[in-house]
Symmetry: C2
Subunit: 244 residues, 2 copies
């Protein structure tokens, strides 16, 4: 954790979020001599969902040897244009690293729009965490930084601003609840459906505006289903597709 | 040292040379659980001159804040074309890292053809050694590797093969001895001259062939000076510029 923070300071990154860090290690890392300033301002969250809530592009990292991932996999040297594009439309980006011993879980990965792969040698593919962080941040800082300046000029096109992870998570929750209320599938599949829904929304990548519209739509559907169970449906009035 | 070796294994590098390593640390690093294979084959030398003897391009690293270096400084993202060029003409390349606490000495730097600078944030410019190695090797492995394949086609132009560090060091030694024999400067300046000569030869960057020619020339001059002191010079015959 200390090495990761050092690399962040080296490459000018400042916002570190630790998800359920191991308390003694986290305390030691924060109070270590020479710990960069950003450690003091680091935030601790209970879930990855909270950590990436305001982000519009979540990039996962780690060894992908164990299973074919569902998201697109991008080789690190090809990442810069994607970062540039996201910054150009005013997005916020998170790069997520897993714990050193086992990396990101399947659940963690379901919050990621794409995964990056560091092109390492097949005989020794797995990198030390601090070194992986350094390599990723070096790449982003040196090859996507110019674009950030260029991109700032295009911020007037904010109508295409991507939905944040929190927006999508909220929508996914309402959709899942709707499926359950509609007896779409049994309650035992709730977690599996939630997971699939999250990946589906990442693939769809709706804009922030469209996400609000869809959310309004599903809230109405959910309300209708629940109400129908109690009494006959009322006549529908107005539009649920207007913005909230 | 262990972290540096791990990064080498990650990016497919295999030849590690340690110059006067701290014995207990070196022993521990080599016998560490999970130490990559290249640690077993690592070579230990007493001087940097020996370590880079067969190399034709020696690249130094480290923070350059303390003093303006005499060699060209290249930003790491711009290094690949230079590596490619060197590989294309059949050269051997060394990347030299200093000890973590104080980096490469002025003497160490005098063996380097060029210095690379990792573009870090001005508030925290100094990188952890293992992370600096990872970033440099990532850059070279991903952005100069294609060229190595391309370059192999041009190996027929071997007449332009650069002199190795050992060739230049040998030449520098003979030139220094010649200057001394010629009373060019007092013996107290011997080390300073040796240092300046090393940098001069790096700037001149003679080919391997020309280096042999110049060496033959200086050997003859030196022999002449020494012999003159004992007895009148003999008449000169043949050419010292023919290849040895």
């Amino acid at each position: 954790m200390g090495a990761a923070a050092r690399a962040m300071a080296n490459f000018g990154f400042s916002r570190l979020v630790a998800v359920t860090p191991h308390a003694p290690n986290w305390r030691d890392a924060r109070s270590a001599v020479g710990a960069p300033e950003l450690m003091e301002e680091a935030v601790e969250t209970a879930t990855l969902a909270e950590a990436v809530a305001d982000c519009t592009l979540v990039v996962g990292t780690g060894s992908l040897t164990y299973r074919k991932p569902e998201q697109p996999v991008v080789s690190l040297p090809d990442l810069a244009p994607l970062i540039q594009q996201e910054l150009a439309r005013g997005g916020r980006i998170a790069i997520v690293f897993g714990p050193e011993n086992h990396g990101l879980s399947r659940e963690d990965l379901s919050f990621c729009h794409l995964l990056i792969e560091i092109p390492t040698d097949t005989h020794q593919p797995s990198m030390n965490l601090g070194q992986a962080v350094a390599v990723c941040l070096y790449e982003v800082a040196t090859r996507a930084s110019l674009a950030a300046a260029d991109g700032a000029q295009h911020l007037n096109e904010r109508k295409h601003l991507a939905a944040s992870s929190a927006d999508l998570e909220l929508l996914g929750g309402v959709v899942a609840e709707t499926l359950l209320a509609a007896d779409y599938s049994p309650a035992v599949l709730r977690d599996a459906n939630r997971y699939e829904l999250r990946l589906l929304l990442l693939r769809l990548a709706p804009s922030a505006r469209d996400t609000r519209k869809i959310l309004g739509l599903f809230r109405r559907i959910l309300w209708r289903i629940k109400r129908n169970r109690q009494q006959p449906a009322p006549s529908r009035s107005g539009s649920d597709l207007k913005e909230e």
